[in-house]
Symmetry: C2
Subunit: 471 residues, 2 copies
Amino acid sequence: MSEKSNEKITSREVDFAQWYTDVCKAADLVDYSSVKGSMIIRPYGYAIWEHIVSVLDKMFKETGHVNVQMPMFIPESLFNIEKEHVEGFAPEVAWVTRGGKEELEEKMIVRPTSEVLFCEHFKKIIKSYRDLPILYNQWCTIVRWEKETRPFLRSREILWQEGHTMHATKEEAMEETLRMLECYRKLQEDFLALPVITGKKTEKEKFAGAEASYTVEAMMWNGVALQNGTSHYFGDGFAKAFHIQFLNKNNELETPYQTSWGVTTRMIGSLIMVHGDDRGLVLPPKIAPTKVAIIPIGDVEDVLTSMTDCLAAREISFMVDCSDKSPGYKFAEAEVKGYPIRLEIGKRDLEQGEVTIVRRDTLEKIKVAKDEAVDKIEGLLETIQKDMLEKARVRRDSMIYEAKDYPEFLKIAKEKTGFIKSKWCGEGTCEDKIKEDTTYKSRCIIDECHDGKCVCCGKDAKYDIYWGKQY
Amino acid sequence: MSEKSNEKITSREVDFAQWYTDVCKAADLVDYSSVKGSMIIRPYGYAIWEHIVSVLDKMFKETGHVNVQMPMFIPESLFNIEKEHVEGFAPEVAWVTRGGKEELEEKMIVRPTSEVLFCEHFKKIIKSYRDLPILYNQWCTIVRWEKETRPFLRSREILWQEGHTMHATKEEAMEETLRMLECYRKLQEDFLALPVITGKKTEKEKFAGAEASYTVEAMMWNGVALQNGTSHYFGDGFAKAFHIQFLNKNNELETPYQTSWGVTTRMIGSLIMVHGDDRGLVLPPKIAPTKVAIIPIGDVEDVLTSMTDCLAAREISFMVDCSDKSPGYKFAEAEVKGYPIRLEIGKRDLEQGEVTIVRRDTLEKIKVAKDEAVDKIEGLLETIQKDMLEKARVRRDSMIYEAKDYPEFLKIAKEKTGFIKSKWCGEGTCEDKIKEDTTYKSRCIIDECHDGKCVCCGKDAKYDIYWGKQY
């Protein structure tokens, strides 16, 4: 394999960061432009996003959510209404100050998130308990003025969805928060084959303006953590700041309870960094835009046609590489792109009545009778999906460490990159100390606990928590 | 019908503009916010857009196009590369001048359209004839700093799609331009039931930077024209300005030819203004998010369940209004929302073994045996789709006038609002004079002609052309 496409990819053992960038470029996922800090999502990258969107949008609709479209701008005065929120986001927003030839009377920001826009609207449309719950979602891009950017992980402009809901009771809002967290877990485990840990963010790490933030945490191949989605319980904080009230069944005014939740194209970063290898991308079948790459070798027109007809009839997406490049080049290209299965239809194999199937995840080559090929492919797609999740889970679990006391914590943090599980007192001072001593940050609280001592200060522990290095 | 929902709608005979705004609000399509000139697209309005997107996106993919995502910002220097383009758009762009706490070194505009971003990218990815054609599309929002805005018709932020393609030859680029124009015609006639006229824009009215612009022109109920989509042939103008070249089969450098094309949520404005009536929206079945509104009257649980099961099995979308409002209120509500069919399941009808079906387009009431109701509905949805197009076509054609000479033109323009067909010399001076004298603007050239005289100056005519008042 000394093919052109592969040459561009640095080994992930040698330089993981460079490997990541190389894969993003070599698989034609993204490109750069003169717009600093933003990325172009190229057709292959965007097709992955479209698949994620279609899966998630269906889940949202099945749970009663509807889509809306809010303006992308937020007037300064509207942005300023919720104090914690504005302090959290102000340092990283883009400002529109001129429209046409005129300076604006009131400056506007490009939305970094849309809570305030939704709240302003909710105030107008919520009058009675009959109007609740409101279950809204928006697919859009947001802008955060990041200094350092990396494709899919951190970008000035981000494609995402943001759910915004309003409920008559605390309990219902909390249920919704956890329902959407579960929806994200399901998307990531069942479709993206990403094993994830769900839990609660600490006070320090929660969303600006939220009462509680929940998170979906994935571990990359190199042990570094990536936050792959968040779901926030707002209580009635925003609702009070925006004077949103409804008449309950007894005709009394009450304040509703709110949630918001979002995932971004960052999940594509996780797909790359959990499943990819030195040959490029490895996509789980359920989210791969193209499941089978067919490479005809020699004149095999008849068999090719019957194969593609059969794949099409079973709605298995495929591409046929008929370009004038060498088979070796085409194999490498199919590997870079991470198509789950490569089907080689060669004259020589056909003399034995066979074709060759290659699994992208294991690189295993399987010779199979041509009449059984499509059955085999259909079965393998399911196997690959399962195996990829399992393989990722085994690797992740092998990099989860448990620390009983601080010396042990320091030793693991020094020697390993991964998640460290420990008990924690719940105090920000310990969280800060751990971060300063080790660069490990809290990932998520997975449970309350009523025994054991904080790994840092040794006082009574309140929580079981994961720590990790983060992107 | 003195129901609440209807009370809010001004008669379209009395004040068409107010009627339009009333329908937009009463049908819950849009709302306003403190973001001046932008609109909130509410769930029902957005669901219509989602249906349009799904139809169009399928058409794009079937014709070989792929989706991409470009940044929403354009640095000033990039924007300035194509001279005509920048002159056309500069007066109406929004400027981002600050990011976080810093003034930007180079100001950026929020994209009013993305030609320059695509060109910069094309320059990087086009090397050889093998890379062509490039058939890209983007779904996104754009910003144009309009002073006067109206929901769906003119807004500071617009949801749209923009296609951008590159071709090895002029002929191929021109074919693409017309293919996509035809795609828009098909969408509008076959799905939105909007009869449209396609043709070429005059030099004055063409897109800033295009060699030729083609347009899809619809006529509203009141005779006013709406440009419902455009497809542009760029020649090699942008490609030259951006130094985009490719090696042809003879290994010589050539400049490729380019197109761009787009439609926006403005088509929803057309849907409202072509089909709507004093009771509200009337949606053609093929684009209606909900095709059937079911209103149970009394306890009809068993029949309701069998009906909804049957509709679901045939994939006919429906909603059931089980609220505690009166049947009359619910009827009016279903009319405002423009559901193509209303199905009333009433205890009294059921005693005769019947249910009542009401067509939204004609308001015709049809009693039908309950066991035949779903068959009837399925057939009616097709009939309604056809009838709506035909009805709109008849009305439009009744407002197309032909003018042989200028006195006749002036008389029609004074007395009527509609399209005026005439011969034209092709000179901008006549175009300007007609606009000044009558407020009629050129809509589109439908053909060259080799006989007859210009309706304005009396010199030899070059074109058959439509004129109209425009939104």
